[in-house]
Structure formats: C-alpha cells, structure tokens
Amino acid sequence: MSAPALPALVPPRVRAFLADRRALDEAVAHAGTPVHLVFPQVLADNADALRTVLDRAGVRHRICYAHKVNRSRALAVAAREAGLAVDVASPEELDSARAAGFVPGEIEWTGPKGEAALRRAVLAGVTVNVDNLWELGELDRLARALPPGAGPVPVLLRVGEIPGTPFSRFGIPLTRTDRALSVFAAPGSRIELCGVAFHLDSGAVADRVRAAQACLRLVERAHTHGLAPTVLDVGGGLRQVFTADADRFDAYVRALRDGLTGRGAPLTWAGHTFGYHVDDGAAHGTPVFHKYGNTVTAPAMLAELLAAPLPEHDHRPLTRVLADNLLELWLEPGKALADHAGVTVAAVEFCKELGDGTILVHVDLSRDTITPADQEVMMDPLLVPRAGPPPGPPVGVFLAGRSCLERDMVTNHRVFLPGLPRPGDLIVFPNTAAYHMDLSAASALMRPPPPRLAVVRTAHGFLVTPDARAGTGRRAVPRES
C-alpha cells in the first residue's frame, strides 16, 4: 500500500510553472526564499467561472472581490481587469483598491468600522456595508454634515443572528433591524438603503436560503418605510477545492484517526487531535480541517444557491425571487476567487532526527506564514530538489518552522515526502493565496513576511514581477473627492 497522502489539486497554469524549472529558479533567485507567488490569471479564470453561472441563471449581479483574502496588488488588479467590484475591510485595503484602479462606485467597505474608517468611507464615496446600529448612527451624522449636493451615502445593512444559521458576532440582530430602517426613513436623512446583506461562515446552502428569506422579509419591511432597496448581498463563503483525490484524502484521515485511537501508527505531532475527541476507542467529531476534503466547487455551490427554492416564496428559486423583486444579487467571494491563485516556496534548512526516530524537516518559514487562524493545512507540499531526482526512499516527516516557539510546526500531521530532503531543496506549499499567506502572518524575530511575486504566462514564457508593480500606470486613478 502506498503511503498516506493528501495530494493537492494544482491547476494547469500553476503546474506548468512548477514544471518549468527555469521560471521557478528565476523567481527564487530573484527574491530568495521564502517567497509568495501569486497567479493573477488563475483569479481571472475563477471569476469567469462564477460569472458564467450567474449569467446562465440570468441574474443581475455584482461580484465584489474580497480583498482581505490576499494583500496582493496583482490579484486586485486582476479582479478589476476581470470586471469585478471590490470589497475592502480597512483603510489600507481601500488605498490598495484605489491604487489597483477601482473607482469609488466599484468599492464596498465591509466589516466593523470605527469613526475614522467611517469618515474615510464617506469622503471616498464608497458603499458602506454597515455592521451595527452605532455605525449606522455615525454614518447618518457624517452624511448630514456633508456639503450640500454631496451624497447620499450608499449603505448596505448587514443582518445577523438569523435563526437557523451559525451564530455570528457580526451584523445587526434581525430583531433590531426596524430601528435601522427608521434611521434611513428619518426626515433629512442623507444615507440611502441600497440593500440588505448577510455573510455566513458555512458552506451550507440551506443556511443561505434561511438568511436570504430573512433578508427578503426585511426588504419588504423597508418598503413599508418608504425605502426601496435594490440589492440582496449574500456575502462570501463559496468553497474551495483543495484536494486532487478525495478518496486518498479520506484514506489519510482514516489513518490519522486510527493513529489517534491507537489502531495505527500515530500521524499527529504532540498530541494534536484537530478537533476529534477520542472516546470508546473511536475518534468522534468533525475535524477543524474538514474544508480540505471538500469536493464541491464554488461555481457548483453558487449554482445550487441560485436554483434553491425559497419556501417562503412559493418555492420559487432564488434567482426568480430576486428578479421578481427587481433586486440585484451582490456577492463577496474571496477564497473562491483566490483558489489556486498562489503558492508559497520555502527552502529546507536542515533535517533532524529525534530520539524516537521522528524526522523533522526544518524550513525557512513559520507555521503562521502559510496557516490561516492556526488551522492545520491538509495538502501535501511538493518537494522540488535543487538538483537531481528526489532522494528516495519515501519518508514520513513533520515540517518544522524557523522560530523559537515549540508550537511553530508547519505541519502537525505527518507528511510523506518522496525522499529525505537536503538543505537548499525547495518545498512548495500549494494553494496558499486564499487567506493562507496573510491572515495570520507575523513578523516575530524581526523576520519580515516573505516577498510576493506575480507570475504571468505570456507568449514568451513565464513573466515573474514584483507584486507591488502590478497595474502601475495602466489606468488613471480618479482622486477622492
């Protein structure tokens, strides 16, 4: 039987680059290791796939690229060039979006915002996705203070605590949305209710159906206040596909669970259980890494959502209900757009054998460089020897990070490499563009985060350029008013 494995799905564009050793070596020679590589053309492919689903369903829509997924300039530019709008969540992301060429009418600001951020949003003229009633009151105040002729400030109301959906600390509790509507409807208001928004942290279409129905009820109530929202914003949460082979993924997980229950060789480092609880000789529960076994693509999930019948609307599909009510669908995919649009390259520093024979492969980055929110990444990294074939035989190792922290293990699960790496060999971590690169990146030990390069395939081969240079001088950036 072959060694347990978690083969990563690698799209043809990225596979071609990795196979072209000259391009990879050039990138590494240029920037050293570790280095993040982003593939803007992959993001464009992903955008096309989502738009095809929306067009086929005949739904009026706006896709806002969730910038938070990756700080890359090249990906932001690619999103703009693909005709997407953008969702920013900080003043810095707003700056980045503007620099990537997005105009205010294409920018939506989501997430919790303080006074300074709200002021900035109002001055920039972007659409504000309001998280709470304080924000709404503050926006109302700021908008009323605008010079005559300016505004109105476009606003989306994010609704939260929707029964039957996962609890979230974000959004205005459904039970308090009437207070929000009365702010819009108050005399002299200079904020405009563009629409109603939700965002769910789950892949379940059934949850989104509940949330959409709750938002539609709110849209109808808004009309009784004399308001006429035109947008239903279903947020992000479209899923990624990491695995190239779901059966092998399942087999690895099975071996891992057998290791936890003592039926097989342990595959986990230092007692990690990844959310399983071991009881009665079985490993129960849902692992924190379940998303790495997903096989439902973002376009398939979106198509299912669009076609989902809404029980409160005579079981009419969501697309039909939106069209009936003259509503535009907005969505804020991040992961789904950045899926496969980046890899991270590290170098092996040394290998080390522990007293019990366990082998640690030390690499020149840290766990947090490629692991979002400390959730174990369940994709096999690729070993790219500096020269010659991989030195066999296959070996099971843990990858260790470069910091002085005990917890800085790049993998807490055993990874099976085709051979024991040598210092200087490259380790490529696949599919790191969607949150992996940035969400938990730190600069401990004064180590700067890895540089970022953009890789584009041209007629003359792969062009590797500094990410920050993307999009410069391509489109006049209008000044903020």
Binding site: S202, A206, H223, H284, T286, T295, Q375
Partner: protein
C-alpha cells in the same frame, strides 16, 4: 389479529420472496425483509422499543426528556413510544433534509434542534457536531435528559439479533431453506445488519454481510457515506464482507423497480439495498451451480416510500409529470407580440379598460405593481394557459414581469388562444425607471 398495545405490532414483519422472473438473477432466491411493515413505518421501531423498554419507568419517575441524534425514523419511533408514556423527545440533527420527515416529526410533537452548516473556519474549542451538542446540553441540565444513543447502544444490535435475524431464519426454515448466503442492508447505525447477520451466521458461518452506504458527498436519506460511518460506535468495518457505495441516482432507479416491478413501496434506502444486492449477486458466476441449490439472499426494506416524495421530486422531477403544456411560442409568435412602453401603457390605461397581469411572486406584487394589475404568478399562469385563461376576451390583456422576457412568452401564448395580448416592454423595471407610480398590495 387482536393487539392490546401498538408496541406489540413491532417485529414479526413479513419476508417477501421476489419473483426470479422479475429480479432476473438466475440461481438466486432473493427475499425482502419488510421492516416497512412495523407500526411506525420503519426498521427503527425495533431499536427504539428495545432501547426504551427497560428505561421507561425510571425516565417517567425522574421526568426526563429523551435527547437523541436522529433526523428521521428513530426520532419518529421514539417520539411515539415515549410520548405515549408522557416522555418528550428532543432530536438533535445536522439538518433534516426531507421536508415530509420534518413535518411528521413536528406533527408528533418532537422538539427538533437543527445544527447549522459546518463553519469553514472552525474553532477547535467549540465543536459543533451533534454529539458535542448532546453532551453539552446534558451537562448544562444534568437531570433533564436521557440519551439512549442509538449509535452506541448494544440493545440496537440485540433487537435485530433476537428479532430481525431470528425471524428471517425461522421463516425460511419453515419453507425448507436452512441457509442464508447474503444479508444486504443500508448502514446508518449498523444495528440492523449487524444484529441480523450475527444471528444468521450462527446457521451459516459463511454468510456474507453487505453494508450499503451512499457515495461520497452524495445523499440518500437514512444511510451514511463510508467516511461518516467511522464515527458510529456500533460500526465494525471488519464485520462486513463488503461495503457497497451506491449513487443516489441508482438508488432512486432501484426504488422505482421495487415499487413498479415488485410492488414493494419502499424508501430510497431500500432501493439502495436492492441495487447493491442485485449488483453483488450479478457478479457471482453461478453457471455451474446446482439449480436446486440456489444462492439465498435477503435484503432489508427499512421504510416506506411515501415520506420521500419531495426527495424524489427534487432529483427526478421528470417522474412527477404535470399538466399538458402548450407548445412554446415560436420566434414568429414572439416577434408579433405588440410591445407597449410604460408610457404607452399608462396612457392606454387612462383611456380604455385593460387587464394587466403581473406574473411575479406575491412579495414583489405587494411591494409594488402597475396600478390595477392582478397577480397571477408565472407558474400558475402556465397551468391556466393549459386549461383556459380566466380573463375577459373583450379587452386587451397586458402581461408584466420583471424585465419583459417572461411576459413576452405568455403574451404570445395568449394571442395564440385568441386574446388581444401585449407585453409591457422592459417589465416592471422599466415602469419603475420611467418614474411611474407603483401601487402597493397587501
């Protein structure tokens, strides 16, 4: 036959021999164990009764409510049996995906706790699986609940050892068959197949147990995928000679065969078991086998067909037909429909009597429609056009939809039926964008 309590009807279910000419497997005697004949409609009645029997007096004395991981048949059996003794049931579930099943549980008075979908960014300190929720619920109110735990309770297996398996053996023995070669059944808790096969292996150690699961990330109500089985405490993979993964499409096809060919009105899990049984037996080379010594196979029919109509409809709408539809309008018919601009409609509406039909959903009509329009939703309108349209022929009919596309088709069909029908060009969107007034509805 007289019974004094409904619980006495549990078990002693029929064993139906399927006609070899209909199942088409030469050299095979195939039997269906009709667990669907249990009083509450499923194989789960046995496990529920067995798990509950000895606990009832204590539960009643202590005033506890049952809490159980179930999204269907077990919850229904427990709810009825416990409810008759004044004991409530809280069913905790990852979504009941079949509407009728949920409705029936509600009708019977079950408290249903449905967990939302899994977080994409889960916090390892707060697992949201069903068992964690049951544990924390019980910890929060220590004396309030009792968890019978169908997935780990050995009485679940014993009920099928002493019941299902023994009955199969005795019924076959009475007809001169002393040996069962195959037992096939869907895997949920694995109680029925383990219990029954264990009993039957006492008579034939060579019996092959076949467990049926759904294909990965597919859904067949009542059974799990193979990976999902790993969490089940009673599940012993080595017990089975074979685990067969069935696609839902094949399960549905087999469900239809069971109903239409064999007269067995069973749910899709039973269809999956039948499909797996046929596939497994077909692989055997029985060419040289003595015709007087056929292979004997039994599969478990675990519940009835009726609760799964919405499941079947969602996957196979073609099975449910519908009224005869008129042929779709031709390009010429569409092109010949007069298109009224919003301004033209507003002017004509002032000057003459029109029938304006808004084809959108109820909420859209309530929010705002062309003043005086009636609301006949597009799907209803389709039925009406097939059966006769309830508008006067004496005045023009104007169809209005979101942007004018859907209405155009209806106008063309109505014109074919002899009406003076037109379309509001650009739909209600154009009407709104032209600044014309919208009327609110109730």
């Amino acid at each position: 036959m007289r019974y004094d309590t409904i619980a006495d009807l549990i078990g002693n279910t029929p064993l139906l021999r399927l006609d070899p000419a209909r199942h088409g497997l030469p050299g095979v005697e195939l039997f269906a164990k009709l667990e669907s004949h249990n009083p509450f409609g499923s194989v789960k009645d046995r496990a529920a009764a067995a798990m509950l029997r000895d606990e009832l007096p204590r539960l009643r004395a202590e005033g506890r409510t049952l809490i159980e991981a179930s999204s269907g048949n077990t919850a229904r059996s427990l709810r009825v049996l416990a409810g008759m003794a004044g004991i409530g049931l809280r069913a905790v579930t990852n979504r009941i995906r079949v509407a009728e099943v949920r409705d029936l549980l509600r009708l019977l008075g079950t408290e249903i706790v449905e967990l939302p979908g899994l977080s994409e960014c889960p916090d390892p300190t707060t697992p949201n699986d069903v068992y964690a929720v049951i544990e924390s619920t019980m910890a929060a109110e220590p004396a309030a609940f009792h968890h019978l735990s169908q997935y780990t309770n050995d009485k679940n297996v014993e009920a099928h050892w002493a019941g299902t398996g023994r009955e199969i053996h005795e019924d076959l023995a009475a007809s001169g068959i002393e040996r069962v070669d195959y037992l096939v059944g869907g895997l949920g808790t694995s109680g029925s197949t383990r219990g029954a096969a264990t009993y039957l292996r006492e008579g034939n150690p060579e019996l092959r147990a076949v467990g049926v699961v759904s294909a990965r990330s597919d859904f067949i109500p009542g059974i799990r995928s193979e990976t999902e089985m790993w969490d089940v405490g009673l599940f012993q993979p080595d017990f089975y000679d074979r685990i067969v993964a069935v696609e839902s499409a094949d399960a549905i096809e087999a469900t239809l065969t069971l109903a239409r060919t064999h007269g067995v009105l069973a749910g899709p899990t039973s269809g999956a078991a039948y499909a797996a049984a046929v596939a497994t037996l077909r692989e055997r080379d029985l060419a040289g086998r003595d015709p007087h010594d056929p292979l004997v196979a039994v599969f478990i029919v675990c519940d009835r067909l009726e609760p799964y109509l919405s499941y079947l409809r969602a996957r196979r709408p073609d099975l449910f037909g519908g009224p005869e539809r008129p042929a779709p309008p031709t390009a010429d018919e569409l092109a010949s429909v007069p298109r009224w601009s919003p301004a033209e409609l507003a002017a004509r509406d002032r000057a003459e009597r029109l029938t304006v039909v808004d084809t959108r959903g109820a909420m859209a009509y309530r929010i705002g429609h062309v003043p005086g329009a009636v609301n006949i939703r597009d799907d209803r309108l389709e039925d009406m056009l097939a059966q006769g349209v309830p508008f006067p022929r004496s005045r023009p009919v104007v169809f209005a939809c979101p942007v004018g596309e859907i209405a155009l088709g209806f106008a063309a069909l109505a014109r074919r039926a002899g009406y003076d029908a037109v379309v509001l060009d650009g739909g209600v969107t154009a009407w709104r964008d032209a600044g014309l007034p919208l009327e609110r509805g109730l």
